[in-house]
Amino acid sequence: MSERLLEVDHVSKQYRLGMIGGRTLNAELASWLARIRGKEDPNSKIGMEHHGPNETFWALEDVSFNVDRGDALAITGRNGAGKSTVLKLISRITAPTRGEIRIRGRVASLLEIGTGFHRELSGRDNIYLNGAILGMNRAETTSKIKDIIEFSEIGQFIDTPVKRYSSGMYVKLAFAVAAHLDPDVMICDEVLAVGDLTFQQKCLAKMADIAKEGRAVLYVSHNMRTVSQLCNRGLYLEQGHIQYDGTVEHAIELYGGSGVRSLRQDLDSLPHPKFRGDTMRMLEIEFLNTQALEYTINSTIEFRLKCVAHLAEPRVRIRLILKNSVTTPIAMTQTEPFEVAAEEVFERRVRFSLDGLAPGEYVVKLSIVSGTPRGTTTYYDTLEDVSRFIITDDPAYNAGFIWSERLWGNFRLKPLEMVE
């Protein structure tokens, strides 16, 4: 029998559009004056359909799930699916609009590592301060400080101000504090993207221990390798709804497969950033010459992109940006400029070579741009997360090595030649 630690019960979270960001009293007064005189709001965005005061957006809708002791739950989903919102609600950073969340025991949320660290304070003082922010009292911290210092590998530098620490030391200390909080539910969001590989493994092991000891871990990461290593349950979110609650393998599969790795994809319905996609818009993409968006080293990716243009533009380019598994941009390429006419639906077949790219998972970002000869660039449409593909590793090619992205990055140069 396992005890329930967390219940998320029909929770919804609504954000109000157009209300984000600090406003000055002046702007508010101007809007209000315009409203009572029946004129157009001077602060509304020009060219966008009018955002009334009730224009809202549901980041989560009617989400329910439970976490029991021993669960290591992965939450997967594309950017904007609501993963972070779930974590923010459970960590009480913002309140739900509807529904209820019930928690037994202590929640430690590591949405960011080292929250509340103060640069001027020593490592030891920061352990106490950070511990207190995370909910430990002084006596608890004192009883654990030895373990924390040992786990952090900081050693003799513990009484040095943390502003003198390297970023690696900083992360180690911060994770050490959080890991020793003895939380009943531990929440982690992409916090392991920093720090070296050995320490990362140590952290994952620590989190796995927490789950094994009969507590629970909620883990969000785009790094599916760590997800499958750590988690024993998976949740797949799409546009604020839970689509799947079950095994971690299937949740990862859904994340990989649903839209993100289908060969043909409707781009029109993806969330476009503000001001983009109004005059030119990407409609659909189809990958050719592949069955599963898995490529071998040095192969070529080919796709067909369908777009619509609402204005004539003599120098349009398709620009492709590759991002690695932690969504850092690593490379860019673009087509030669071509001409489009107003109200034209155009299709282009393009291909690029994966020469030199190391094995791993990559994210494709696409833009429709136009560049004048003088070098100014206009972005007509941009989609951050069009597709993901995998370049499979070939140990024969690497002479027995398994490529490590953490250690070696995303590019495999030509063999180091020995002259003579």
């Binding site: 600090g22 406003r23 913002t94 929640v107 207190a132 922010i133 909910g135």
Partner: protein, 291 residues
């Protein structure tokens, strides 16, 4: 998904914000160590990389008082109810600067801490409370200095006008509490409103300056009472005035005008404080969506 079958107790239940007042005092109490550590941090950080360090606590009021003495006492020649002008201004100044620093330093709570508030939960009220405690400690140091100056004047001058009123001195903790609550109350009201209207942050910095001149810090209430007796009712609406009056009366024995107004001031203090806490606890749950 129905848990009502299991009668186990939940430790935390997160609900949408409802009602006007849902401050969790026990929660605040559980985080008392955090408040103390924040006070400690405030001090450590404040005096890092300063040459004179904590001496600034004493230098600040001494210099300000000195300037007041020269400008308002000597140059402008404002009467100080027959008291040594240095002492008179110092009494007003230590009280005012305590109130002012409480207000100013709590008024940016949300903006200044939005990074931390966006990543981890703890009762947000810990931050302004820690600020007020920090300022109280600063005040106590300045207050000790003030007491020394009072003793000096009382002992040195044979026919000294300085006549401490011991019964009123016993009320000092009450006055400090009131000044602290006023500073905190106004500060957290502003901090709650600045999440939406950044203008208020501008207003605070110079508004507080103007406010000082509406308070008998650099002059005595008797001037107002003599010149504009019909304005006294309005003048005394300022909740700080009766407190500073009482403080001066207790330690120096100046004339007091405000016994009747003092209760007024207490009422305003409580109202401001309660309003502040209500606004603050209302904003703290959702301000991450607007900042």
């Amino acid at each position: 998904m129905d848990n009502r079958a299991a009668p186990q107790k939940w430790d935390t239940v997160i609900r949408p914000k409802k009602g006007w007042f849902d401050l969790d005092i026990r929660d605040l109490f559980r985080y008392r160590d955090l408040i103390l550590l924040m006070v400690k941090r405030n001090f450590t950080v404040l005096y890092k990389q300063t040459v004179l360090g904590p001496a600034w606590v004493v230098i600040q009021p001494l210099l300000t008082t000195l300037v007041f003495t020269v400008i308002f006492g000597k140059v402008a020649g404002l009467p100080t109810d027959g008291m040594p002008s240095f002492l008179f201004y110092m009494a007003g100044n230590v009280c005012w600067s305590y109130f002012q620093s409480c207000l100013v330093n709590t008024s940016n709570t949300f903006i200044k801490n939005s990074d931390v508030f966006g990543k981890v939960y703890f009762p947000r009220l810990c931050v302004p409370i820690a600020t007020v405690i920090t300022e109280l400690i600063n005040f106590l140091v300045q207050f000790a200095l003030f007491v020394i100056v009072v003793i000096y004047y009382a002992a040195r001058l044979r026919s000294t006008p300085v006549t401490p009123n011991w019964r009123l001195i016993a009320l000092t903790p009450l006055m400090l509490l009131q000044l602290g609550l006023l500073g905190l109350g106004f500060g957290i009201i502003v901090s709650a409103l600045t999440t939406k209207y950044r203008d208020l942050a501008m207003l605070v910095s110079f508004g507080v300056h103007l406010w000082m001149y509406a308070t008998p810090v650099t002059y005595s209430t008797s001037m107002i009472a003599n010149k504009y007796p019909q304005m006294m009712g309005l003048y005394m609406l300022n909740p700080i005035t009766p407190v500073i009056e009482l403080f001066r009366n207790a330690y120096l024995g100046t004339q007091i005008y405000s016994y009747g107004y003092y209760f007024n001031s207490i009422l305003v203090t409580l109202a401001v404080f309660v309003l502040g806490v209500v606004l603050f606890s209302r904003i703290e749950k959702t301000f991450m969506d607007t900042v």
